[in-house]
Symmetry: D2
């Protein structure tokens, strides 16, 4: 047992969730973390990297499911859900973040599947649910979300240019996507493709539609996996894909034409919280590794343990402080989603998303520094976690976009303050 529920919110966690937390914590520490090196050894070499899913993953999935650690992310709002609040699941997401490459997938709670499952659960027709949600919930297939495009500034989602044109009973899709995570996985069976079905609509937010595209539809050309700081993240990968005259039946649209923007807005709230809480877990892992390293008796410098250097002690304290601050911010956002819904928790979610990735990078950077060059290598999970954290500064919107949005939401308070100041002045 490693994990302690933050006392400040412990009363809000149900006995059922506490039981799950305990089980999950044990599973991650005793099954997932030990599996990390096995996973890396089982990865394919050369082209096989994209064909082989390390068998340890499916073993762990079986074990997790048998323990009831499965699909925990789907909140109690969904019929298919595990009956947890967003706050409760947030704690579990943190726990899985300690073994971020293994644990989320092992319990079928890894992106982008989670967001896609939420879309199907929330907006899918019964037929769409049966065909795609069921096997996703069973962990039988995987999925990808195809939004980001190569030739436009995708941080402003209204720039998305892929065309979705209705021709008779089909939609014809043409576009150039990239950074489509998970598209390289041999188990990936379906894409959710975001594009413009009505590019001339006066409302910039009603031009988009979201369409289900089976992976094996003709016209999909996966050009290459992209690397991130040298990592290809096989077998999932982050792919560049050209959609050339890809045709799907009109039944494959989700919710209806022009509803695409609305869907992605709904999709992003909890997903951002999951990312953030896994990042907290990753940061805790990074700090734990640092604590172990700096107290390693074989690594003395200038006559002292690393832990006896005041600057190292200070670095540790700073990491502890920013982790704890960040955790409360995310838990608060999760709790707000539970209370008022993601739409009304925009500021809280945005703050979490804007803060946590940089926090993770700061903690990991210190831990890497304490590890010496080894910290940059594959011998520790630090470098890979760092790269994941760096990517998260873009994923689901770059820092800058969140920060501007938070500032603007905050500025809405100005009018009232000015009125109150004026009243005060008039009295004096």
């Amino acid at each position: 047992m490693v994990y302690t529920i933050p006392p400040l919110i412990e009363e809000k966690i149900s006995p059922y969730a506490k039981e799950l937390i305990k089980k999950l914590d044990n599973f991650v520490e005793n099954e997932c973390i030990p599996a990390e090196q096995i996973f890396h050894k089982q990865l394919g070499k050369g082209e096989d990297r994209w064909k082989i899913v390390p068998p340890i993953i499916e073993e762990l999935k079986k074990k997790a499911r048998s323990l009831g650690l499965w699909n925990l992310f789907l909140s109690k709002h969904y019929r298919e859900g595990a009956g947890l609040t967003n706050l409760e699941y947030a704690l579990m997401a943190e726990i899985t973040g300690r073994s971020i490459r293994i644990a989320p997938e092992a319990i079928n709670c890894s992106a982008p599947d989670t967001g896609n499952m939420e879309v199907f659960a929330k907006y899918g027709s019964p037929a769409q649910k049966e065909k795609w949600l069921t096997p996703l919930l069973n962990g039988e297939i995987r999925s990808a979300f195809a939004m980001t495009e190569k030739n436009v500034a995708s941080s402003d989602a209204t720039n998305i240019a892929t065309s979705i044109v209705r021709v008779n009973n089909e939609y014809v899709i043409n576009g150039h996507k990239w950074w489509i995570s998970g598209a390289g996985d041999p188990r990936c069976a379906v894409f959710l493709v975001m594009g413009k079905s009505d590019p001339k609509n006066k409302s910039k937010h009603k031009q988009q539609s979201l369409v289900i595209v089976p992976r094996d539809t003709p016209g999909i050309n996966i050009i290459r996996p992209l690397t991130i700081f040298g990592y290809d993240d096989a077998p999932e990968g982050h792919c560049e894909i050209i959609f050339k005259d890809v045709r799907v039946p009109i039944e494959n649209i989700i919710l209806g034409e022009g509803r695409g923007f609305e869907i992605i807005q709904g999709r992003l709230g909890p997903g951002r919280i999951h990312h953030c809480m896994r990042s907290i877990g990753a940061a805790e892992r990074g700090l734990d590794l640092m604590l172990a390293r700096v107290t390693d008796p074989s690594r003395r410098t200038f006559g002292k343990l690393l832990a006896e250097h005041g600057t190292i002690v200070s670095d540790i304290a700073k990491s502890r402080m920013i982790i704890d601050q960040a955790r409360f911010l995310v838990l608060n956002a999760a709790d707000m989603i539970d209370k008022v819904g993601a739409k009304n928790a925009l500021k809280e979610i945005g703050m979490a998303k804007a803060i946590i990735p940089s926090m993770l990078l700061e903690v990991l950077d210190r831990s890497i520094q304490a590890h010496g060059a080894g910290g940059l290598s594959e011998d520790f999970p630090l470098a890979a976690m760092y790269v994941g954290g760096r990517t998260l500064r873009f994923a689901d919107g770059p820092d800058e976009v969140h920060i501007q949005q938070i500032g603007k939401l905050e500025l809405r308070r100005a009018e009232k303050i000015r009125a109150s100041n004026e009243k005060l002045k008039s009295k004096l």
Copy 2:
């Protein structure tokens, strides 16, 4: 009504406390903030600065007491207390921080009296309580805490050198103190003096005693009020004081010889939380002023409202984020004190103390910058709040000491992590 209880902890706040919060919020907004400029006008000039207490203060005290807004800081652990938890009072401290020069004193919850009242309430003999605690609780007198010394590094409290020597039925005190806040106030009637009664005791933490010294005892020489930046903070002030053969009866010792260190340890926990929460309130005030300023239509630069410059929007967002993070950290510490006591919440209290003053400075600095040079002047409360925040980076221990302590507490986890890593390695 300006204040919103953070939803994450709202369930923990009793209806009674909520009622008080509402009343206090109104009192601060409608009575204290409008009183700020009056207060400054009522301050004395020249030597009178140390003789006159602006009458508005006593008026507000009367009003506050009649509203039941009085001595809220003394938690339910004390017979004399308002029956609030530390968490509940923390919210109220934040509210008073919005008018930090006026509100805390108006409700008889200002340092150093609060800490001193806690000492009397917790450790005082019945006679000591009657003589000093009662008038303090009534707001009839004020007090000072004389610990910091000029000629030693007082951030390490074991360096305190003032001698307390028992001679017959008296203690004779000799020492050179400075930064004794509140000692300049004409209402200040008593000092709690920290010194060494047993400087040769093997235990560094049993050499100290704490002694009650009435303000009018012969031998007390207030040399000068010190300034902080250019402020003298009259009439309270921060004084340099020489104690020369000052004699008090032995009944004036608190708790007994050698117990001084123990007492200050007990004194500091909640007091630090109060400082921190008031700082949160001050930061909110600073941000509010910034919001008002940057949307002032008469202050356009380069063709735009200040609020239309992206860097200003970003500054606002950053301030909002660090305030919210910091608040949770302090509320968590307050809640931990409620749950396990200040002694067992050292890390949580330390983190709050190490983070919040710098957070406050960062928020105020941005607000000042948005105000132009006026932000540095007496026309806004920003500069004075800034100086208060800067001082807080020393008060109750400098940042560095807290940070080292947090790091060392965190390092205690290392052994267990190392053991677990070893186990893991042995399995592979």
Copy 3:
């Protein structure tokens, strides 16, 4: 002898300048620094603060002049100048910054007189020079520059609203200025007032004129001295002033109607460098004080000298590094002014101005922190220097304005880079 000319640029310094540097360094160390406490004691009390100039200042001025340390700031471009390059004087400005309250004035090189003298020397008519420049160069009178206004965002100088209306042979001036430094000084005999003589001119930069206004002209109402973080900086002060139907003969215009903006542009280049270099000197003084403090054997904490704590050593190193980096930036800007003129060194000057004040604050903050609360008091020059540095983040344009300007100047390079990239792509 304390000062070492940076070896990187030593070859550029003439033997004459080296001789002056040596003399100045001795003068500052042995005359000015020892005079600091005398100065503070000689300041007036109460209203006298604005009537008394500490006599030590005039004594030092006499001594300095007799040593040839006088008006060094006026570069060789001016007939009245000391024949120094901007680079050479920059080094001297650094030296005076070590005793920033005393030394610049002692050698008649203190703001705002320096900038005003430059204006007279560069743009003044023979009559204007005789009447005002000569006594200024002799240190017989002082002057102020009245630009900043209370009711507009003055960081955008085109907002200045004071009206200058020609009526027959006079200009009639109406406006509300504040932060007019030096206006409180009993020796201040003249204001240079910036206002709008042609507010409807299509060119935003031709609406302004600069007019000479003798201090004793009827209609000038000095409302109050403003404070900066509690300091009033008497006797110079920073004053709020209302100009009400102030009349001066038309001969008092400088250079001609509509030339005001042009003049202030010309005025600011070298003045910013002087501010920056004095700040470097102030930072060095701050670091020196820190070095002395942390090695003080009477100030041990937790069993160690402060200088034996790794975090303190690290703080010292960081201060050394940012000082040295900043100095080169300013010297480079000074050298560019010498080479291509201030107009063509906008980016270099802007970078110095944007970086140095924050650098100074960072160095002083660490030094203050090492001094404990004493560092905030009048017992050390740190707090006053800090406040000066903070003010400098506004003076001559706030950081934000410089930073945006630097970014925009840098962006001018983009087109060429894009062209070169395109060429490269076309080849591949």
Copy 4:
């Protein structure tokens, strides 16, 4: 022509060096940068990564040598050198840093060969020079420097544990090295191995020796190339190597037993400057790419070019400012080496090394952020440069070690300052 010699030091650059700078600048812009993508395409796949050196490299080497751009790093102190000062070469190193993967090797000025050539040139016997220095200078072979060890904290070089035992006419070497850069290159013909020949010598700095070990000596076992983040940097690589009873003739010792520490001290000064200046060039390249990206008309967000967002303009300005500051710091260190030798320029070299890698990371991070996720990929050189910069925070000593050393050197000034302060006090 892209490069401009910093005007501040232009007078110090000889016409000969200026001619070389011009040629080199053209070579880098028109030959090396266009070769970058070719290089990546020519890299081997799978195991071939370690067997193939992209042919473009040897082509560029030929071209460079024919232009006289060859071995420029060896300063005029060496008979074999190009006759340049360290300052002059520093500028050239910056230029090569713009194409950091290609240009340094193309002109035979890449680490670790440069440092090794300096060792041979400075300390090698005539026979050693003939055998190793000549082919290295000709670019016919490459080399590695084997110091860092896996099982000790190598940031304190006295921890190195590899044993070098003399047995008759041979040295027998046993040890476990890692991060041996260049050891994977098929052209690598020789290792310089640092180890302990006299581990019991009382002087911690006389225990070490440096021995020449031909790559094909029996007992050398290259276990694996390490990755940095996800990069293997083939074909050079960073290798883990076990030396098991490796035997070399005693003639292979450099300078003599016990001289190892002395040699590495001498080796590191200029090498650190080279690293730093290349980093400046890399930072300039990163900023250039950012300028191009944010002005790309196809990448508008929220109705604006990226370059029209104030926060982006501010980011650009900040990058420009830290690059320029950092460059002066390194040029100063290079100039100090020229003037007083590396031994007497420890503080200047250390400051450059402590500042520049973090500066590079900061600049690149902003540029990456402006590029969106693409900035993390192989489509731009940013990610690889970032990883190089991150590594440099360890290479030749981690930041922390430099910072502590700088702080300690600075503290040597304390005594004199304290004496001067005492003198001042005694006068008052």
